[in-house]
Symmetry: C2
Subunit: 519 residues, 2 copies
């Protein structure tokens, strides 16, 4: 394995961490150091002998140093193939490019909003030197981060940097430069009114930063991680998982998935409502005038699945609710906030995860985002389902018109069914979820499961469906269990059969025009 013998290095770093020690070691190993602006000052002040880049190029710095390294002698030195041409031109080779970039992402996170200041923090010379070295990694090694200093020194001490290491540094470089420009694009896009829809791009990258360590993925044998998309602090919802957690064990991969499901459902529900979630599906839900009443009703709707589940509230949890919650085994409770008394009681369970989303409420409930899913050979991307079922139009298609209370229940049913995995049917009575048929491969089985769940409570209840009825069997089954009103998108070629069955059996039915498949 051939090695890169380092005789000359260029050092140009914004983050000065460890640079003095690193440069000293380089000098001790006979390396000549070229340096720029702030790096030169830092090194010189530490007594390290180095050459100013101006003295190397013979060009005085101008435009505040914007172009100091964009020079043929610098890039000739980095890109040199160490051949006859380089010798003939007397190009001095640069074997090591030690560069880290202006911290664009960091000032974004610190809340800098002034566009001029943001743009000033876009590094031009740094990425160029790193990319030049990465291209010529056979001869020149890029060092894009301080974390590699020790490794590099130890290799230099043994005679040079292995070409394998240099190649890995090249990979690391393209990772960093790609991420850097991806963040810049994502942030600057917020300063235009142009199309922010990710799918308007033929080619795109999404910048992802590991944000929260989780022990493993969906299962213990799968590694997993939570990545956030860098943004201004007020848009940074990933903070919620960290700073919003008031009590309990660390969050797992499945917890984050379930919490996200809860927040999406709460976004569509009214104030003071409550929802219970298991395996990303709602298993209990109710809308009442207080969180206490909503919880009681949600629990009444299903007191079995809730075991080991997650409960979310669109409002504040007080002591009365906390006392009830305290009697159940739960993994997670989420609320806008908890009263001090409620918190006192609930934090007695050391493992119980409590999250307050008050600080991020507006952003969470209005997150305009995309969905992404890995499929064969790539990913599917789509807009988030932004249709809010309670705002859809409920067109009565039957002779019978639903009562106002039934209309309310149908809207609640459709709100929930939107968030149940397809095929999905839900049964609702008095703004309370009493049956769910989730994830089924045919519609009538979904209905049967939901009705079996509701049992005798189905009498006088309403039924919501995430997609149309391919035939009239669901209507007939629903009628036989006492369902009084139905909501579904409509659109089947056999809609008339279902309408006719409703008319014959005395049910009302509304078409909403919006399908809510969700997988």
């Amino acid at each position: 394995m051939s090695k890169i013998k380092v005789t000359r290095a260029i050092i140009s770093v914004f983050d000065k961490t460890g640079i003095v020690e690193f440069a000293k070691e380089l000098v001790n190993n006979g390396v000549e150091i070229l340096s720029t602006g702030g790096s030169y000052t830092t090194l010189s002040e530490a007594g390290i002998n180095c050459i100013k880049i101006e003295d190397f190029t013979g060009l005085k710095e101008f435009f505040g140093g914007r172009v100091k390294t964009l020079h043929p002698l610098v890039h000739g030195g980095i890109l040199s193939k160490r051949d006859e041409e380089a010798k003939a031109l007397n190009i001095k080779s640069i074997d090591l490019v030690v560069v880290n970039l202006y911290p664009f992402e960091k000032i974004v996170e610190n809340g800098e909003k002034n566009i001029e200041n943001l743009i000033e923090m876009i590094d031009i010379g740094g990425p160029t030197m790193l990319r030049s070295a990465a291209k010529n990694n056979k001869f020149t090694c890029p060092i894009p981060s301080a974390v590699y200093y020790d490794k590099i020194i130890s290799e230099i001490k043994t005679g040079g940097i292995s070409t394998e290491t240099s190649f890995k540094m090249a990979l690391e470089t393209f990772k960093i430069t790609s991420y850097y420009d991806s963040v810049i694009n994502n942030i600057l896009a917020q300063y235009t009114d142009s199309d922010k829809n990710i799918m308007s791009n033929e080619k795109i990258t999404i910048p992802l930063r590991k944000n929260l360590d989780v022990r493993y993925g969906e299962n213990p044998h799968q590694e997993g991680a939570y990545y956030s998309i860098p943004d201004f602090p007020e848009n940074n919802l990933s903070e919620f998982f960290d700073k919003g957690k008031l009590n309990g064990k660390e969050l797992s991969y499945n917890n984050i998935n379930d919490i996200s499901a809860v927040m999406r459902i709460l976004a569509d529900l009214d104030a003071n409502s409550c929802v219970a979630v298991k395996h990303c599906n709602p298993c209990g839900a109710a809308q009442r005038t207080t969180t206490f009443e909503s919880f009681k009703a949600a629990y009444e709707g299903d007191s079995m699945s809730i075991f080991g589940g997650i409960i979310g509230f669109k409002g504040i949890v007080g002591l009365d609710t906390a006392e009830l919650l305290n009697g159940i085994f739960l993994e997670i409770i989420i609320a806008s906030d908890f009263t001090p008394e409620a918190l006192d009681l609930l934090t007695k369970k050391k493992n119980l995860r409590l999250l307050s989303y008050k600080k991020w409420e507006d952003k969470i409930f209005n997150e305009d985002t995309f969905e992404i899913k890995k499929v064969l050979g790539g990913v599917l991307i789509q807009e988030k389902n932004q249709s809010i079922p309670k705002n859809e139009t409920y067109k009565v298609v039957t002779k019978k018109t639903p009562e106002q209370s039934e209309i309310n229940d149908l809207k609640f049913a459709q709100t929930l069914v939107k968030h149940v995995k397809s095929n999905a049917i839900v049964i609702v009575k008095d703004n309370m979820l009493i049956g769910v048929g989730a994830g089924q491969m045919n519609r009538v089985t979904a209905a049967k499961i939901a009705l079996d769940w509701a049992k005798e409570k189905a009498e006088g209840a309403v039924l919501g469906s995430d997609a149309y009825f391919p035939m009239d069997d669901t209507v007939k089954l629903a009628a036989s269990r006492g369902i009084k009103a139905i909501a579904q998108p409509g659109g089947s070629i056999k809609d008339e059969d279902s309408i006719k069955a409703c008319d014959e059996l005395g049910l009302s039915m509304c078409f909403t025009g919006f399908r809510h498949f969700y997988h």
Copy 2:
């Protein structure tokens, strides 16, 4: 709104599309053109007056042009703030940077494998000029693609480029440079043995290219698209959706999702098996010695849900199978291949989508990939679930030991349950799926649904579970329906209760040690 008056442009393009016409228009509008290597030749030969970059910088090209534009006079001209300093230094401003990059991605797609040739195709000067202009977009407009030429000319004709347009071009630039480096990183990573696990990266971008237009996302009111991750042709599975389609309507978003589910299931099944999928869950499946027998058994297991579904074969579909398939309403049939007679028959249905995966078989069945899912504020990423249930260890924990035929059925059950949305229970008899309980919020309900589906066929069958039993109710229910053997991961604090129930009721049970949650 202020405008950028263009007096000088630099043109350095690999893709010469439209460049002559564009440059002519620039000259007609009084713009001085600087140009490099191939672009200079193209423009000169077209009779367009332009200045060689060497004549502008006074530096003769060297290293085969690797550093020709990495020059202070070029970048000074691009980055100039058009202020007193620039005037004093006599820096000639460059107002327009017309650059497109070496086609790294394209040569990858064309199958270039030589690492030296790939590296040679990494552009250094081009991204640098574009990024300089993008940073200084207030004064200098980057034009990173030919698609903008017409718009730019029309703005120049009306007095200059709007700063709004220039800002949008800057955004476009960072999108392109980020994507470019992300592709380079992804491709070069294949030349090392270092950790390719995406989660080993703290910061990462994934390059995504829109690959197949779909009419809409999961629902008609959601826009959707299929993006692939650029790769060498033999790794490009996205091709399968396009070139693997032999007949039928265009694929929808949900089709691609379902097809991916089918292929994942087939990957874990034996040769000649058959699986039917609806809403990403298997609803029919069987393993027999021929695809014909497998299909008959899969259909016998469930002949209702299959309606409008998708059927996959791990093998070739012949005329006998095609004749049966022809009698059912299906959306999609996938097979390694179809015999000419089978194809003749099935292609009579113009809408029926037929896909052959033969060409991509090895890659599809060995795809080592990751999962990505949008959650609040970011994404969850995890390894794909690579544990193959038939290769797991089935540890008998009951007094009774399953027969060999039951062990085979348990392995088939666990293979399927891995791909059913959680909570999941499946019932299998004689290598044939006869009941599925999918996507449930509690385990015993999942079991009840699966057993209700199986009806009297459950007698003598086996049951597989994707996760442990929290209590003994599932065992008791299963026994009451005639189930003889059970497989589940084990690991509940109440495992002993379930074992005891099995022993009392005469069932055998195996622990596999592998949970298969899937949401």
